[in-house]
């Protein structure tokens, strides 16, 4: 079980690394940022909803965090 987890994690990190290494052709020119500049494309577009959701799932499940620093600081779990 433990070993399988580690394999999955290694595979995930390898995927991330290949994404990083293979991005020579990725990206846009400054004048192509019109869509990316829209509010709806922000990665932190709904901070309050994200924080409330994080708090709910933290109190119902064994996993937290991921996108940013984990919730925590709550006696609910």
């Amino acid at each position: 079980m433990r070993r399988r987890n580690r394999t999955a994690l290694t595979a995930g990190l390898a995927l991330a690394a290949s994404l990083l290494g293979g991005c020579a052709s990725l990206g846009v020119q400054p004048w192509e940022r019109d869509l990316l500049a829209q509010r709806s494309m922000r990665l932190d577009g709904d901070p309050v909803t994200a924080a409330l959701d994080e708090h709910i799932y933290f109190s119902k499940e064994a996993s937290t965090g991921g996108a940013g620093f984990g919730g925590g600081g709550c006696g609910c779990n």
Partner: protein
């Protein structure tokens, strides 16, 4: 005049972005304050209900200097599963305070209905530019409820590469949590004393330290697509036992509870979390798909897949956003729905369903619209349903006939209002 009927596409959005990159105008130089507020109702029929209110303010001082402040208040009442198994007989449990008790009808899942708590969490932080391409951020966090307190600090740095198409960030966060449970901390694996009798307790408060390290990458793929990958390592040391949770010791043949023991969890936990996300601008709106993998040395593995698909509805910033979330976790190594009378006690045991094996779905729908310039209103409804194996193999005697993992379902209602200038 001689103007033709030809129409020209707007270059203004792209030009604004280009000017912002050149160091004039745009986000980089406008002073702006954004305030987001929300009120959320959470209800599990016959169990917990909670009301949460949140306010976040973000001020942009220009030139890449930002500050943010957030306060969340929530009030919670109701009952939650104590971990004890149902029984064919009426069961009496002592309240955590030791004063008074509550009973559970035959066949019912024991719910501790003592919960009534209010929590306030406050956090603030600032981001400052470090040269043209880097930023440094730092923040403080504190929260308190009547039996729990948390204080934390975090710091991170990020740097843009390749025409700001790639951002790498690294951060650290520490927090110290203090648990002062009602009635004190029970001795792990001590049997629950009857009402009025003395419950042996551990001396002092419980505390745990949480240290997180995070590495993140955000990559622009093309004009419409962003990818985010984050790896986090989290190390928690100290008191992680839930002082209110029980594990039933049952008779190996009848399945009847013989004793109710306070649970006991290991005092160290190391978590690895890998998170990946793709956000894409589509003709109809914006799709946001993420996957999270978590594994820890308690033997837990979890997978979370989440999809939000924003569908723009004409003008006025109106949209509908369906939300789908799928979650699955394996059980912790020391999860035990019951312990058998006469068998040796394990090193650690918990019957908290949140450390058991289960799956969960969330279905949600959000609507948002602009209210004039710079004001937005959102409303959402979500349904959450958690289910596990209610009839695990090997359940002795009566336990085989009871639902040992009752479905947890919850409704979430939220109204949000935000404004900015």
């Amino acid at each position: 005049m001689a103007a033709t009927s030809r129409t020209y596409r707007s270059i203004r959005g792209a030009l604004s972005a280009a000017c912002a990159l050149a160091g004039v105008g745009g986000v980089a130089t406008s002073r702006a304050t954004e305030v987001e507020t929300a009120i959320l109702g959470y209800t599990e029929p016959n169990r917990v209900s909670a009301l949460e209110t949140a306010l976040q303010a973000r001020h942009d001082f220009g030139s890449g200097r930002l500050a943010n402040f957030k306060v969340v208040y929530d009030a919670l009442t109701g009952a939650s599963a104590s971990g004890a198994v149902p029984s064919a007989a009426v069961q009496t449990f002592t309240r955590p305070s030791g004063r008074g008790g509550y009973t559970t009808a035959p066949g019912e899942t024991p719910l501790d209905n003592t919960f009534r708590d209010a929590r306030v969490a406050v956090s603030g932080g600032t981001t400052l530019p470090l040269g043209r391409l880097s930023t440094v951020s730092a923040g403080l966090y504190g929260s308190g409820e009547h039996d729990y307190m948390s204080l934390g600090a975090n710091a991170s740095v990020s740097r843009d590469f390749d025409r700001r198409n790639r951002t790498l960030s690294a951060g650290l966060s520490f927090s110290r949590d203090t648990v002062t449970p009602e009635g004190g901390r029970p001795i792990p694996f001590a049997a629950m004393a009857p009402v009025g009798a003395d419950q042996p307790r551990l001396a002092g408060d419980g505390s745990k330290d949480v240290a997180d390290a995070m590495l993140g990458l955000v990559q622009v793929i093309d004009r419409a697509t962003l990818v985010q990958v984050t790896y986090s390592l989290s190390r928690v040391t100290g008191y992680q036992t839930d002082p209110y949770k029980l594990v039933s010791v049952v008779d190996p043949t009848s399945g009847a509870p013989v004793d109710q023991l306070f649970e006991h969890r290991p005092d160290a936990r190391t978590k690895h979390i890998l998170f990946g996300r793709v956000k894409r601008h589509l003709p109809h709106g914006v799709a946001d798909l993420s996957y999270r993998f978590m594994t820890d040395d308690w033997g837990l593995v979890s997978h979370t897949v989440e999809l939000r698909d924003r569908v723009a509805l004409g003008g006025g910033g109106k949209y509908l956003q369906p939300h789908l979330r799928w979650y699955r976790q394996s059980a912790a190594d020391f999860y035990a729905r019951w312990l058998l009378d006469g068998a040796a006690l394990p090193d650690h045991a918990t019957a908290d369903y949140r450390l058991g094996e289960f799956g969960a779905w969330t279905f949600g729908l959000e609507h948002g619209r602009d209210l004039g310039r710079d004001h937005r209103l959102t409303a959402r409804v979500e349904y959450y349903r958690q289910s596990g194996d209610g009839h695990p193999a090997g359940a002795p005697g009566d336990l085989a006939s009871f639902d040992l993992f009752p479905v947890v379902d919850a409704w979430i209602f939220q109204v949000g209002y935000s404004f900015g200038s």
